[in-house]
């Protein structure tokens, strides 16, 4: 089998690791939490980094009027379908073996990835800004939005937001498709 094809198959399969590993983590550090609180976001659910973290984050956030972390989101239904579909499409493209299709897949994934990040941003924005007007603690002008990527001080907490293993597999997979294209190009020239 051609190397380019193998690379494209790998590119298409790697995103499936999102079903095994979480894609994103938000960690909250504060002096009272020697073991920080954390949320691991997966394709179809959110989990505490440690048992009880979701409840404990909700408990803290309710004082400033933030909504509880969602157990159900439309994204949890859509994302798995998108990933499976795109993997299948990638595999079909690999077996067709047309290098242009590799680039088509790359562009599609890039668009979907950006859309996903934008969706994540929108959710974070709403989570940090859409506050209960009856909240016990009101800080004029203060929002509680964690960063999309990076670290940020929010009152007594330092919030860290970084990709986890699942996203790294996805990223590597997406990057492999132009490599497959390039290798395919070289293979054709050799002929």
């Amino acid at each position: 089998m051609k190397l380019s094809k193998i690379l494209m198959i790998a590119a298409a399969i790697l995103p499936l690791f999102l079903f095994v590993f979480p894609m994103w983590n938000i960690t909250l550090e504060a002096p009272q939490y020697p073991i920080p609180l954390g949320i691991d976001i997966s394709l179809n659910k959110m989990e505490g980094a440690n048992e009880g973290d979701i409840q404990n984050i909700d408990l803290m956030n309710h004082y400033v009027g933030m909504k509880p972390l969602p157990t159900e989101m439309k994204e949890f239904d859509i994302f798995p379908i998108v990933i499976i579909s795109m993997s299948l499409l990638g595999l079909i493209f690999a077996f067709i073996g047309n290098k242009k299709l590799y680039i088509v897949w790359f562009v599609l994934m890039a668009i979907l990835g950006t859309a996903g990040m934008y969706d994540f941003y929108l959710w974070l924005y709403d989570y940090g800004h859409n506050l209960d007007p009856k909240a016990a603690i009101k800080m004029p002008g203060q929002a509680y939005m964690p960063p999309v990527l990076g670290s940020k001080q929010i009152l007594n907490f330092t919030a860290h937001s970084y990709p986890m293993l699942g996203s790294i597999f996805l990223f590597v997979g997406v990057c492999l498709s132009p490599v497959a294209f390039y290798v395919a190009l070289k293979e054709e020239r050799k002929k």
Binding site: I35, E51, G52, Q55, N56, L59, Y63, A136, I137
Partner: protein
């Protein structure tokens, strides 16, 4: 960057010069330098942990205190045999059964000798046991939750003092009788003590997985006072040694009448032999009545069961079960060295310290070197079993512990000191004063096969002027010595609760990693649990009203209750919904004739309130839990007996 580093090193260099010159200036004051070096060795910087746990008996407080070593800091007082209003122990409905006995509910006792469970003769850090001296009982405390899990009463016993010491695989926890009594109890003249009173030695089996205790058998001994005991270990595993006094069998003015015999005994009990006799059916089943109280971690509730019989062995009829080792002058502590070869009898009225040899004892038994018998129990010849004598080490030896290097450390009550001596040579190596009148001492693991011989804690009976005075009643005290060198060094004094009779220590690394953080709510099987606010309700059953209440930062659910009437018995069953470490909540209501509840995350506890007056009565969270702790409150409306107001409950109008 480079410049910054240079400045840093330069300033560090200058600082060190100042520091050195500072030392030179202080050189003149010798005690100052010593004090600061001791201070450094007991100082635990903020946020760092101690190297050892020390579990100190609470003596007449009935409890068990948890300290850290070398800092001496007090972390927790575990309620065991006495009620504790702070933790609702013995006050809430769940723990009241823990203090049930054949005499009914008892709110107090005198706790003495803690001992940590062992596997293969080494501390395993699973449980700690402690005895109640006054109303004989043994308690087992979990070292995961640091809570009392089980208490068993000891029938046919009184003055449960030679207790609670455990065998090297925690097969048994052993309890002896200090005040012999008629067995079974009956109405008889006290003057007929001699020959009629008995001293039971109880062997309580411990389930090796869950720790459940059961009285396996009792050995019914002559009416002496069985003072202290320790298990054999290593080569002497299978034996248990008890010191005795009052072999005179006096029943009055014991301070004189029980101090007449030149030698009393150490009773050597072959418990493996006892097991054989039990298997062979050589026991008598005696009627008895004793309480067995167990706390269930899933229901967060204790139950008390009355047991009705006990198996009894008679040593006069069962050869090879017990031998007496003659030991001078009313021996107190009975201590076995880490190898199991030496049995130290601390003759508290003797001028020297007697050490018996287990090997010689075995030989003497084989060769039947007996000097008669006492009530059918053979007395071994003193010279045939004696390993050696530490000559005139001090006055009033009480207790001995060991390090891992062949040294023993004995406390002397009358001369108020700790003396270090060498096993085998019986030579005194070092002595250090204690302040004052030391009783027990403790070296972590010092009564196991593997002592951790870094620190020695002396437990003093008298403090006088050692601390700021607090009126006529002043604290008892522990003193910490460094024993890593040839000479012992006094590092620290620290106050203790009650009277610390004995202590048990273990490396923190053995226990701390297993310490529980929360109770999982989903494992809560309390019959009145409410696992969410949706499950909260108020149910009336005649005059009894059951409130299924929850608490979470920072409110109760429900927090308004109406329809309660004067004369009702209101049970508040309160569940802490938190699942975060170190977020307990408390609750009490005005006029409650009981203690607060202090409820750990995931736990359910119950208190009873009997409202006596019409009105609206507030309750509140008693443990500062959160920024809005002050808002964590609610009201109960109490109406007259004849009222028709319907039972209702709400949170935020819902």
């Amino acid at each position: 960057m480079k410049v910054a580093f240079k400045i840093f090193f330069l300033s560090a260099f200058i600082a060190s010069i100042f520091a050195l010159s500072g030392c030179g200036n202080n050189g003149g004051s010798k005690s100052g330098a010593l004090t600061s070096s001791a201070a450094n060795r007991v100082f635990i910087p903020p946020g760092e942990h101690d190297e050892f746990y020390a579990f100190m008996s609470g003596g007449f407080s009935g409890q068990l205190a948890v300290h850290g070593l070398p800092s001496g800091r007090l972390f927790k007082v575990i309620p065991v045999f006495s009620v504790d209003a702070e933790k609702a122990y013995g006050f809430n409905e769940e723990t009241k059964p823990m203090l049930n006995t054949s005499y009914g509910f008892i709110p107090w006792d005198d706790s003495h000798h803690p001992d940590i469970s062992q596997t293969n003769g080494e501390l395993d850090g699973r449980w700690i046991f402690i005895n109640a001296n006054n109303t004989p009982r043994i308690a087992r405390i979990s070292l995961e939750t640091f809570e009392t899990e089980e208490i068993i009463e000891i029938p046919n016993s009184a003055g449960n003092h030679s207790s609670s010491f455990i065998t090297e695989n925690t097969e048994y926890v052993v309890a002896g009788t200090r005040f012999s009594v008629p067995v079974p109890q009956r109405d008889m003249p006290i003057s007929e003590y001699k020959g009629n009173f008995k001293g039971a030695l109880s062997f309580i089996s411990v389930d090796k997985d869950h720790g459940d205790m059961e009285i396996a058998f009792q050995i019914m001994m002559p009416g002496f006072d069985y003072d202290l005991s320790h298990p054999g270990r290593g080569k002497s595993h299978g034996w248990f040694f008890f010191t005795t006094y009052n072999t005179e069998e006096a029943s009055t003015l014991l301070e004189v009448n029980a101090s007449q015999n030149d030698k009393d005994f150490i009773a050597a009990v072959n418990w493996k032999k006892a097991e054989e006799y039990i298997k062979a059916g050589k026991f008598k089943t005696m009627k008895a009545n004793y309480a067995h109280n167990v706390y269930d971690e899933d229901t967060h509730t204790a139950t008390s069961t009355m047991k009705k019989s006990v198996k009894v062995l008679d040593p006069a009829e069962l050869p090879g079960l017990v031998y007496f080792l003659p030991t001078p002058k009313s021996p107190h502590g009975c201590d076995v060295d880490p190898s199991g070869e030496y049995i130290v009898g601390n003759g508290k009225l003797a001028a020297s310290l007697t050490v018996h040899s287990f090997t010689k004892m075995q030989k003497a038994i084989k060769e039947e070197k007996f000097d008669g018998d006492a009530y059918g129990i053979p007395i071994l010849n003193f010279d045939a079993i004696n390993a050696g004598t530490v000559m005139q080490p001090g006055l009033g030896p009480l207790h001995t512990e060991f390090d891992a290097n062949g040294y023993a450390y004995t406390t002397f009550f009358i001369s108020s000191e700790v003396v270090k001596w060498q096993l085998g040579t019986w030579k005194v190596i070092d002595r250090k004063p204690t302040y004052y009148s030391v009783g027990h001492l403790m070296i972590p693991g010092g009564n196991s096969r593997k002592p951790f011989g870094k620190y020695l804690v002396a437990l003093n009976k008298i403090t006088k002027d050692r601390y700021l005075p607090t009126g006529p009643e002043v604290c008892h005290s522990a003193q910490l010595y460094d024993i890593t060198g040839d000479k012992m060094e006094l590092l620290l004094d620290f106050p203790t609760i009650g009277e610390p009779h004995y202590a048990a220590g273990a490396p923190a690394s053995l226990i701390a990693p297993n310490s529980k953080k929360i109770y999982r709510l989903e494992d809560n099987k309390h019959p009145y649990v409410a696992k969410s606010e949706k499950e909260t309700k108020v149910v009336r059953k005649g005059k009894d009203v059951h409130v299924y209440m929850t608490m979470i930062r920072s409110h109760f659910a429900p927090d308004n209750i109406e329809g309660i009437k004067v004369g009702d018995r209101v049970y508040f069953h309160v569940t802490n919904l938190e699942q975060d470490y170190d977020v307990p909540h408390g609750i009490s209501i005005i006029g409650a004739n009981t203690s607060e509840l202090l409820i750990m995350p995931g736990q359910t506890e119950t208190f009873v309130w009997e409202p006596k007056q019409v009105g609206v009565w507030p309750f509140y969270c008693t443990d500062f839990c959160s920024a809005l702790h002050q808002e964590m409150q609610g009201y109960v409306r109490v109406s007259p007996k004849s009222s028709n107001i319907k039972l209702s409950w709400s949170l935020d109008g819902e």
